[in-house]
């Protein structure tokens, strides 16, 4: 890998009226709370220094309020640092006058947002072409590039739709296409997958890894999810209270945590204690719907050669489980009320449960475990095999999320 493409040097950010004046006083030894109590200014970044190398996948990880989103925004000056230098390709972008800054934003970087930030009044194609439009590229050329970018993210054929008619995962693909279409040197991603369902999130993570391998972009990626950080990052920076606590490869961070805070994150990164239900769950082969009758259900199970399946409502609320044996018997007796054959007492688990906690449940059940969120929605199933593999550490992949 080459030298740094982005160097953040001694960057501080204070939100408040007299932030600049405050910086002239010694703040180095004062805590965030002290500064806030004395001056009313909120400390968001404290003396952040880091390098991002060309072609590297650099992850900034921290909990909410750690300053990670502020930090990534300073890299395009959506937020202006109070003091410090941010050198990109040898130039300090903080010294750029307004027109030079616009050029930098249009050509060097592109950003993907947690809430997608798509333009609801533009079609998918126009959204993807937006960066090129701002660059004043000719219409036919920018549409051609946007189409290519949409194809890259697997959205060929959706050009004429409006974002509101797309699912969250697809909307974020549009966000990614918009960034890729401008062919930036640096891709900035601010928790791009946080708002998505776990299965979609994993799929997009995998695709992003593949994409980055192919395109060799420099990526700066913000997340609050250690798993995502370890899975995606060439190097990871861990932030707390506006400070960078540790920078290193996932290996270094797990094997040699800088302090208790990092250790808490990574403690025994044994898969059983780190992997969650969401991390190992899969989409079931067959899913039955509540309104289907027992006869239909029996036929579907027979056709698919399944012994049992989960049942959900029209909006994927979890209802229960039926087995083929029960259905055979019940239909044989001439019953027609689906509800009577449902087994609703089957163990279930929440998406954020750790494998360690899931294990006893998996041992009890003869089926798979349904993953159900707080609102009762069925997210996927955890197969017994996946739980046992995770327990024994017999999972593949560096982050271990593709069980």
């Amino acid at each position: 890998m080459d030298g740094p493409i982005v160097s953040v040097e001694g960057v501080w950010k204070l939100f408040g009226r007299e932030a600049k004046q405050l910086m002239s006083r010694p703040l180095r030894n004062q805590s965030k709370a002290d500064i806030q109590a004395k001056s009313g200014a909120v400390l968001a970044l404290r003396d952040v220094t880091l390098d991002v190398r060309k072609g590297e996948f650099f992850v900034i990880m921290g909990l909410s309020g750690s300053g990670k989103s502020t930090l990534i925004r300073t890299l395009v000056r959506l937020i202006e640092p109070t003091v410090g230098r941010i050198v990109v390709n040898g130039e300090d972008i903080l010294t750029f006058p307004s027109d030079r800054l616009m050029q930098y934003r249009r050509n060097a970087v592109a950003m993907v947002f947690q809430n997608f930030g798509l333009f609801p009044h533009y079609t998918v194609l126009d959204n993807a072409a937006y960066g090129l439009k701002v660059r004043r590229e000719e219409r036919s050329l920018r549409e051609q590039k946007a189409r290519a970018a949409l194809k890259t993210v697997g959205l060929g054929g959706w050009e004429a739709y409006y974002p509101e008619s797309l699912s969250g995962g697809m909307q974020q693909r549009v966000g990614l296409a918009r960034a890729l279409a401008t062919d930036p040197e640096i891709l900035l991603m601010d928790e791009p997958f946080s708002g998505l369902d776990p299965l979609i999130r994993r799929q997009l993570q995998d695709e992003l890894v593949e994409l980055q391998g192919r395109l060799q972009k420099t990526v700066v990626f913000v997340t609050h999810d250690l798993h995502e950080a370890l899975k995606l990052g060439d190097r990871v920076a861990i932030m707390r209270d506006g400070e960078v606590i540790q920078i290193g490869t996932p290996e270094e961070i797990i094997s040699n945590p800088a302090d208790g805070y990092v250790r808490d994150f990574t403690r025994d990164a044994s898969p059983a204690r780190v992997l969650t239900a969401a991390g190992i769950m899969q989409e079931p082969a067959v899913l039955l719907y509540r309104w289907q009758g027992p006869r239909t259900a029996r036929k579907i199970l027979r056709d698919e050669r399944c012994e049992w399946a989960f049942v959900v409502t029209r909006i994927r609320e979890y209802v229960g489980l039926v087995t083929l044996d029960d259905l055979d018997r019940y239909v044989g007796e001439g019953g027609s009320d689906f509800a009577e054959v449902l087994r609703d007492g089957v163990e279930q688990c929440a998406p954020d449960m750790y494998v360690e906690q899931i294990f006893p449940l998996a041992r009890e059940t003869a089926f798979a475990l349904p993953v159900v969120d707080e609102s009762g929605r069925f997210l996927g199933e955890v197969r017994r095999r996946a739980v046992f593999d995770a327990m024994t550490g017999d999972h593949n992949g560096e982050g271990g999320t593709d069980a």
């Binding site: 934003r105 050509n107 592109a110 947002f113 930030g117 960066g131 439009k133 409006y162």
Partner: protein, 290 residues
């Protein structure tokens, strides 16, 4: 003894009078010019409207209604209603009224949309403008007739002027609100891709504020129509004048005919502009019917 002390009288009225005299003495030519421009505009609009024969005008409105509402029944009803105005013998007066409304609305938009944009951009501007707009909408509408009369004399020019003052607040307000309600993350995305303020305004803020601005235009138009009727008190020849005459002569029949004509105009204009404000974008495959 319990009366309010006479010595404390604040002579606001005489200050206002003095101010008005100063304006008339020093800015007279300016208002003459403005009045002249507005008059020319009015005449052009009026000539165009009167040049179009009724048998072209009514189908044109019906077609417009169909485009906005996608309802054959509404179009036919609107056409019949407009036809009724003609049968009352008020076609020409209706066109005169419409000419003032159209001119006043156009000028209101030319003033109102930029002011609304400035209000959305600057919190200070908003703080200043809000009470001004409140006052403009709270004052009894015929109060505007007095300065209009003094600055522009009698006729349709002062009526247009008073109409603009009365009708401009909604479009200012709703332009401001529409732009302010554009989600922050969308603006942030535009900024991150290097859009400048003008680009953000034209590509993001105005298109997303469009429904809100159109509602503002709808309200402004309705208020203009209401004010034009009152404007007949200072000599604008509109349907309102017929109502005024009917009141003076206690002529109920005439009053009803003129009044109904005004209501018909209000309904037709309102429904069509309202429908345009509420059209929405469609992805492929979505039905186009309503």
């Amino acid at each position: 003894m319990l009366d309010f002390p006479q010595a404390l009288r604040i002579p606001l009225a005489s200050w206002v009078d003095a101010g008005m005299r100063w304006v008339l003495r020093n800015l007279g030519p300016l208002f003459d010019t403005i009045g002249h421009v507005v008059l020319q505009m009015l005449l052009v609009v009026e000539q165009v409207l009167l040049f179009i024969p009724w048998f072209v005008f009514i189908p044109a409105v019906a077609a417009l209604a169909w485009k906005a509402l996608r309802s054959v029944r509404s179009s036919v009803v609107f056409a019949l209603l407009l036809f009724a105005i003609g049968t009352f013998g008020y076609w020409q007066l209706a066109m005169n009224t419409l000419a003032i409304v159209v001119s006043a609305v156009l000028i209101s938009l030319i003033i109102g949309i930029p002011v609304g944009i400035l209000m959305a951009w600057s919190d200070r501007m908003q703080t200043v403008m809000k009470p001004v707009l409140d006052a403009m909408q709270t004052l009894p509408s015929f109060v505007y007739l007095i300065p209009a009369l003094m600055l522009f004399g009698l006729g349709k020019v002062p009526a247009t002027f008073a109409t603009i003052i009365y009708a401009v607040p909604p479009v200012i307000r709703l332009t401001n609100v529409g732009i302010r309600e554009v989600p922050r993350d969308v603006i942030e995305a535009a900024r991150a891709y290097g859009a400048n303020r003008r680009g953000i305004l034209l590509d993001v803020q105005l298109p997303l504020a469009r429904p809100s601005i159109l509602v503002g235009i709808n309200q402004t138009t309705m208020m203009a129509l209401a004010m034009v009727v009152i404007g007949s008190m200072i000599g604008a020849r509109t349907l309102g004048m017929e109502v005024l005459l009917a009141i003076n002569r206690v002529n109920i029949g005439q009053g009803v005919e003129a009044g109904v004509s005004i209501v018909i105009m209000a309904i037709v204009i309102d429904r069509i502009t309202y429908a345009f404000a509420h059209t929405r974008r469609r992805s492929p495959g979505e039905s186009t019917g309503t």
